[in-house]
């Protein structure tokens, strides 16, 4: 069988970060976390982490304080929706093309 380029004949790849490129470029708003309200930061305990649990792109860390990887965060806003203490606000990016 003749192969060219990557040698693949179907869409295949190894699992890895950034398979689809830096998807943070797709974002039109980013999550801003108010650490005065965020439970793990406020209590200095590994608690809550609802944003980590629900983030569909797994870009939120389960740390104190939680951190968002903005290179890959697409700005979907699910973290802001699920935060029980309303610590997360979606803030519009200044330009439509953040890259």
């Amino acid at each position: 069988m003749q192969t060219r380029g990557c040698g693949h004949i179907c869409g295949e790849s190894s699992p890895g970060i950034g398979e689809a490129g830096k998807t943070g470029e797709w974002r039109d708003s980013y999550p801003l976390i108010d650490l005065r309200k965020c439970t793990p930061a406020k209590q200095n305990k590994p608690a809550c982490f609802q944003c980590w649990l629900y983030c569909p792109d797994a870009v939120i860390s389960k740390t104190i304080p939680v951190q968002v990887n903005l290179e890959y965060c697409k700005g979907c806003g699910i973290c802001a929706e699920v935060c029980p203490v309303h610590a997360i606000t979606m803030v519009a990016e200044e330009t439509s093309c953040s890259s």
């Binding site: 069988m1 060219r4 990557c6 179907c10 869409g11 295949e12 689809a20």
Partner: protein, 409 residues
């Protein structure tokens, strides 16, 4: 029986087409079978489940709730490294439509037996070829069998073809006319099939120790993946599928030749020809209809017409060059289609016209739509249609806009 030419042993049994397909799959040592019963394909699934249950076939028979799932199971099995088989008809094939694209797009060498049946509405369970023709653009190789021997032989060859070019193959045969009609079939010995058909070697494999993503969102343009390798975009992968089909003709021919050397029945030619040497009037048909056309041609020969029959064995990829060569001496080509591309004409007719465009062959073309929903097609009707076409040549119209239907309107 020992074939004199190849020295190969075989056992002749009286079989219907469905049993022939099931035995073909068994001899190919399929490892996973997932199918959902539908008339007239049901006996294929029954036979295969019996083989598995009796321990004659070492395979997983996976019961599913629909044809869409059946092909999804086969697709998954194939990507995990198993040789998989399914069979369906009509609405079942329509229900598989989405998965047909996935299987071909992932380049999985599946084999599917399509027992050709009309498609609703209105409801009908009898034969025509509308079901498989409706799936012609899914990227599958399509082979049409004329008799039960060809069904069995084609299923075995299909695995070798599919696993060489990594394109799935659909073996199509007419419902009832072949599926439920018994005729003598030579069954090759397992040891000979094993010599002919090597173990399945997947082009890619899903393995838990080496995880992979398949068919993620693939953008139009090539892009660099996480490992820094430039990967094909959607369009490149689709080009490779087209290229694989274009180039598969040689593999199909070679596999047919190897089969002939081992079993004494050669499939080197992608077309079936009957009395074509001196024919200037050619009847074209696909599947069992090509056999009826031979009878019609004999009648016409007795009346003094120089007719021949061109039976299409391969529909996708369409053997353009072979068709062009076969029709080089014809002045009239009469094409019988058991399908209709509504608003246009029969699918075979369109292909023949496209093959002849720009060539030196200047034959008039006539197209008849016949046998839809199991309407009987007699040799006499076909002969009369050819004579009507000959008479119409005086009108000087080489290519009529729309086909004629042989029906009561």
């Amino acid at each position: 029986m020992i074939d004199k030419k190849s020295g190969s042993n075989s056992d002749i049994q009286i079989l219907d087409g469905n049993r022939a397909a099931a035995i073909g799959a068994k001899l190919s040592r399929v490892q996973v079978i997932a199918a959902y019963p539908i008339t007239p394909q049901t006996p294929v699934t029954e036979a295969l489940s019996e083989f598995v249950e009796r321990g004659e076939l070492d395979a997983q028979y996976i019961a599913v709730e629909s044809e869409h799932s059946a092909l999804a199971v086969c697709t998954s099995a194939s990507i995990a490294g198993a040789r998989a088989f399914t069979a369906t008809s009509s609405h079942g094939l329509a229900y598989m439509h989405e998965m047909l694209h996935w299987a071909a797009g992932t380049r999985l060498p599946l084999v599917l037996a399509c027992v050709n049946r009309a498609i609703g509405a209105p409801w009908n369970v009898l034969n025509d070829q509308q079901d498989s023709i409706s799936q012609r653009d899914t990227g599958w190789i399509q082979i049409y069998a004329r008799n039960n021997q060809e069904i069995l032989d084609s299923v075995i060859q299909a695995y070798k073809i599919a696993e060489t070019v990594y394109v799935p193959v659909m073996i199509c045969y007419d419902g009832y006319i072949l599926s439920h009609t018994e005729m003598p079939v030579a069954i090759p010995l397992q040891q000979d099939v094993d010599r002919f058909l090597p173990q399945y070697r997947p082009h890619t494999i899903l393995d838990s120790s080496n995880p992979k993503n398949y068919n993620l969102v693939t953008l139009a343009n090539p892009r660099i993946n996480a490992e820094g390798v430039l990967c094909h975009g959607y369009m490149e992968l689709r080009y490779l599928l087209q290229e694989a089909l274009q180039n598969s003709r040689e593999t199909i021919r070679k596999v047919g030749q190897e089969f002939g050397e081992l079993f004494g029945r050669s499939y080197t030619d992608l077309l079936w020809k009957e009395k074509m040497e001196d024919a200037d009037i050619v009847i074209v048909a696909m599947g069992s209809l090509a056999m009826e056309a031979i009878v019609a041609s004999k009648m016409l020969r007795e009346e003094g017409y120089k007719t021949g029959v061109l039976g299409l064995r391969l529909f996708r990829p369409f053997p353009k060059a072979d068709v062009l060569k076969a029709l080089s001496k014809s002045r009239l080509v009469v094409i019988f289609d058991k399908n209709i591309s509504y608003g246009s004409e029969g699918a075979v007719c369109s292909e023949i016209k496209a093959a002849l465009y720009g060539s030196q062959v200047n034959a008039a073309i006539r197209n008849f739509i016949v046998g839809l929903g199991g309407r009987d097609v007699t040799a006499r009707e076909m002969a009369d249609a050819v004579k009507k076409s000959i008479a119409s040549l005086t009108e000087g119209v080489p290519n009529k806009g729309y086909p004629e239907w042989i029906c009561h309107i």
